[in-house]
């Protein structure tokens, strides 16, 4: 981030963001981690809690990405990587997998985002400037069906544009879906009154965070 106002700030690294998310996941939750940044959360789950990872292609109890020499070619995650299974894992077909999601059985989904609005609207599947074929995967089902939806994202785009906004400009993935945002600058809840800051990265001031956010922030 080339922003001069960032001097003296120490944004959370990707690993630190993942560790913050992981520390907030309670014992016993069934969790789906989206592709990209959210996948890192798996590496930081507390060893003393039983947390089950769900993969939408039919796995509950997913373990770490498999080493190539010991990988089972028949087990892949939603990102098509070969993964391992934990003791007690189960396998099922796609309709059951999305019944878990849509039916409210998945406690938490962690997703990436292009934009998050102050009312919890999420845009994370396509952008109007994107000329590639539109592809949604399981994002809409996850954002709509999981009991809690948390987003992991850089606070602003590479060109410095707001990602936390009053209203999404990109096509929506789901309405009023997101409950919390973990960015490189702050952890922010989405409340009936909009964005509410829970924590900030070292050196980040409320004034700076507000400048870098496209909607009013509450500092309870």
């Amino acid at each position: 981030m080339a922003d001069k106002r960032m001097a003296g700030c120490k944004p959370f690294s990707k690993a630190e963001m993942a560790a913050l998310v992981a520390a907030d996941i309670p014992e016993g939750w069934h969790v789906n981690l989206g592709i990209g940044l959210p996948t890192l959360v798996a590496d930081h789950l507390p060893m003393n809690r039983e947390i089950l990872l769900h993969s939408e292609n039919g796995i509950l109890g997913m373990g770490p990405v498999a080493q190539r020499e010991s990988a089972d070619p028949w087990i892949v995650n939603a990102g098509k990587q070969n993964v391992s299974l934990v003791r007690g894992a189960s396998l099922f077909h796609h309709a059951d997998s999305f019944a878990m999601i849509r039916g409210g059985h998945i406690d938490l989904c962690v997703l990436g985002a292009f934009e998050i609005a102050a009312n919890g609207d999420l845009a994370n599947w396509t952008t109007s400037s994107d000329d590639r074929s539109p592809a949604v995967g399981g994002a809409m089902d996850l954002a709509t069906g999981a009991r809690n939806v948390w987003v992991m994202t850089q606070h602003v785009t590479k060109s410095g544009e707001h990602k936390l906004v009053q209203q999404c400009r990109y096509p929506l993935t789901a309405r009023k879906a997101v409950g919390r945002v973990y960015s490189d600058l702050a952890v922010i809840d989405i409340t009936p009154n909009g964005f509410s800051v829970r924590a900030m990265a070292p050196g980040v001031t409320p004034a700076l965070l507000q400048d870098l956010t496209g909607a009013p922030l509450q500092f309870p």
Binding site: N57, W74, G79, A174
Partner: protein, 234 residues
């Protein structure tokens, strides 16, 4: 005697015509019936509607290869990324695309096999994938009406079968296969092994043979290991 096992590709795929709708199981390289898909590509049929999660990956394997032959006129899927043959034809307007959220795709297929005409789902409410569809408030929450998705043919990959078409799957190779087997008029299975009747325990059968029409034994081993750098969603 019921014997659904066929001995060659021609018998397995008999009856697939120009314009047929074809469901294809698989998620990534796992559970994708590549031999049947490539056999289909050699039939020379055109204007197929393919229903699958993805639009293929490798240009020279399975669905990616089939699309490359020009046999597919339309694809209904959730995630058509990572397929060079699809991209080329889509950019030229040679293939029609219907994107469906993955869970809605699965449930539309399941509904077809279960005799359910349609259902109301909260997924996609307020998004452009719900445009033009009926929205109804049920229990204080908006839902979109989605219809069952039937097909003429389903191409299925199974781990084991018997001559009645009772099927087991392996690992995450189950994915769309069991629900697609139920949703098509003609269900054709590529099985790694065909075992004597009674060998697969009743407790272990995932797809009962009632949903299966033909079984071709294709002992083609394991799917290729995924690249550990591969990380495309959906």
């Amino acid at each position: 005697m019921i014997d659904k096992e066929v001995q060659d590709m021609r018998s397995a795929l008999a009856g697939i015509k120009d314009g047929s709708s074809v469901m294809i199981g698989g998620f990534g390289a796992v559970g994708q019936p590549n031999a049947l898909i490539e056999g289909l590509g050699q039939l020379g049929v055109r204007n197929l509607t393919v229903i699958a999660n993805n639009a293929g990956f490798e240009a020279d394997i399975g669905l990616g290869k089939l699309i490359g032959t020009g046999a597919v006129g339309k694809i209904i899927c959730s995630f058509p990324r990572g397929s060079s043959t699809f991209d080329q034809r889509y950019r030229k307007g040679e293939i029609e695309l219907e994107v469906v959220p993955q869970g809605t795709l699965a449930e539309r297929i399941r509904a077809a096999g279960a005799g359910i005409a349609g259902f109301y789902t909260p997924t996609a409410v307020g998004t452009k994938l719900a445009e033009g569809k009926e929205v109804r408030e049920i229990g204080g929450k908006d839902h979109v009406l989605e219809y069952a998705l039937h097909a003429d043919v389903a191409l299925i990959q199974a781990w084991t079968s018997d001559r009645w078409g009772n099927l087991t799957y392996r690992g995450s190779g189950r994915n769309f296969n069991p629900i697609m087997a139920m949703a098509a008029k003609l269900t054709i299975v590529q099985a790694g092994t065909v075992l004597p009747l009674g060998t697969i325990g009743p407790d272990d059968i995932i797809t009962p043979g009632i949903f299966v029409n033909r079984v071709l034994c294709v002992p083609d081993g394991d799917p290729p290991l995924a690249s550990t750098k591969d990380a495309d969603n959906g």
